[in-house]
Amino acid sequence: MPSADHDPFEERFAGALRETGTAFATDQQELVARGETRGRRLRLRRRAAVAGGVTAVVLVGLGGALVLPGGQDGGGRHRSVADGPSGRATSAAPGTAAPGSSVSSVSGDELVRTLEKLLPKGHFSDAHGRGTDDSPFAQVVYDDGRGKAAVAVSLNRVPAGSQEAVQTTQCPDKVYIAYDSCTSGKLSDGSALMVLKGYEYPNKRSGTKLWTAELVTPTGEHVSVQEWNAAAEKDAPVTREHPPLSATQLKTLVSAPEWRAAVGAVPVDPRMTAVPSATPTHHGSVPATLARLVPRGLEIVSRSQSDDYEFGYVVVDDGRGASLVQINVQRDMRDVENQLFGAGTRTLPDGTKVVRRKQSGEKGIAGIVMWTVDTIRPDGRRVVISAFNSGAQNTPATRQAPALTMKQLETIATDPKWLKLG
């Protein structure tokens, strides 16, 4: 199992995923033959491109044109087109590397040396890294004299101005991730920065702390620094109370110009420079609609920030403790209706089917319960809502029962407002 947390749902899901995946079968011989044919065509195009003296190779696959610089094939490799001396990424001014810039690739060893140079004085061991040709990172075990700690830096690009760029530097919802503090803001050059003091494990197990700093420049260069209070991320004892670098030191490290210059050598996917598409016209998002349907007397403590059109949550408080309420809205689910609406299903006068479920104790968290009302309209629109007796899924129960009754949950799920969405 990937997680040592022994989440029963996680285990059940992994089992079901394995069974589902294993059941797929196809004509492998034909698949192999077609793959090789495609490879031959690809090779011919690459040779033609090289013979033509161009530095960009045009690949046509999956019905769309794909232009990659420097002979990169999308598999993560990159050949520098720079004429300058190879190795050092000095040709790009910090933070100004334009998409497609011809910055020489930077090796993993160089990234490690840069990390060691930028860290305060100390002893280094177990260093390893990977260069800018493929998912660059550098990691060292650093000891400032107060205990060994793993420190890592990774570099990549995100589409400038995209939702992904924004989310990377936005403090996450505490509903999903446990952390002690988080700050986010802008630097003077327009870069967005987030510093988060959190934990390796969602339930803070073993006391391993993970502090991170995420920086995204206005042109989409992404630098991520992580540090632990242990010599390795997992399966290593805690060596000190906190990771070695303070929030200020993390900020200094993540915003060092050396990293931005190195990101300039990361291969560019030209599609990532595309202007993000405008938000579609809508009659409201799921989080906003859910917030409007919360019964009187319940205070909304927090809600999901994104304008999602299928999923949302609110955390409400009736004065007796926080309660997380999640909702999902899906269209045309008639094909799985029989699976979801079996025993215990009621049918309302308008044809809506309703089933209620009370589940307990997931994730080994003390006393937590999840009450769910699942509904499906005659047109196949499914609205499923769940409430917890805690303000988050990863914290112990803070109250006996969720703040909403089953009846209130059903009233929300069957509200006609959901029919007006999308």
Binding site: Y176, Q330, V384
Partner: protein
């Protein structure tokens, strides 16, 4: 082993024959059960591995490399064809028939739920729970930070938990 090839692709046919099935199954999960797209993704993946076979076979772990290529080909495809909804409502997953054994309705429900996840969340889930990759390996495959993978994974599981409800009950282990 098959006959030796003199064109620099020695070992490629054996590799492709041995891995195509697994790549296809991975692709089926990534696409939420769209088997036609899955075949296309695997062909593209095998094609790219073919082109670089000389280097890949020398470096080692071509299976891992192919899985990385598959994931990136899938994400690139999703970027080109992204829409507000992750799955067009008229497209239903292709589910292996009853002769595949096990619980076909459950597989349909699971694929439906997978198909509702954003593409990157789906890739994280498939890499973590189907490929058994670590957080760091998943981050490397997806060209992102492990913190981002962690967040995506937790969110995806929360969403799957809500979507699947009791459907996975029979997989409970004491």
């Amino acid at each position: 082993m098959g006959p030796r090839r003199e064109d620099g692709y020695d070992g490629y046919p054996e590799f492709a024959a041995a891995r195509a099935g697994h790549l296809y199954r991975s692709a089926c999960l990534l696409t939420g059960g769209d088997t036609h797209l899955a075949e296309d993704l695997v062909q593209e993946t095998l094609g790219r591995v073919y082109v670089r076979w000389g280097r890949i076979s020398r470096v080692g772990n071509p299976a891992g490399y192919a899985q990385t290529v598959l994931t990136r080909v899938f994400l690139a495809h999703r970027r080109r064809h992204s829409s507000r909804r992750e799955r067009a409502t008229e497209v239903l997953p292709d589910v292996p028939g009853p002769d595949a054994g096990g619980d076909a309705p459950l597989r349909l429900t699971l694929l439906e739920a997978l198909g509702r996840l954003p593409a990157k969340d789906r890739a994280v889930v498939v890499l973590r729970y189907w490929e058994d990759r670590s957080i760091e390996e998943t981050a490397a495959v997806m060209n992102t930070s492990s913190a981002a993978v962690r967040t995506r994974c937790v969110r995806a599981l929360a969403r799957l938990r809500l979507l699947l409800g009791d459907a996975l009950g029979e997989y409970a282990r004491s």
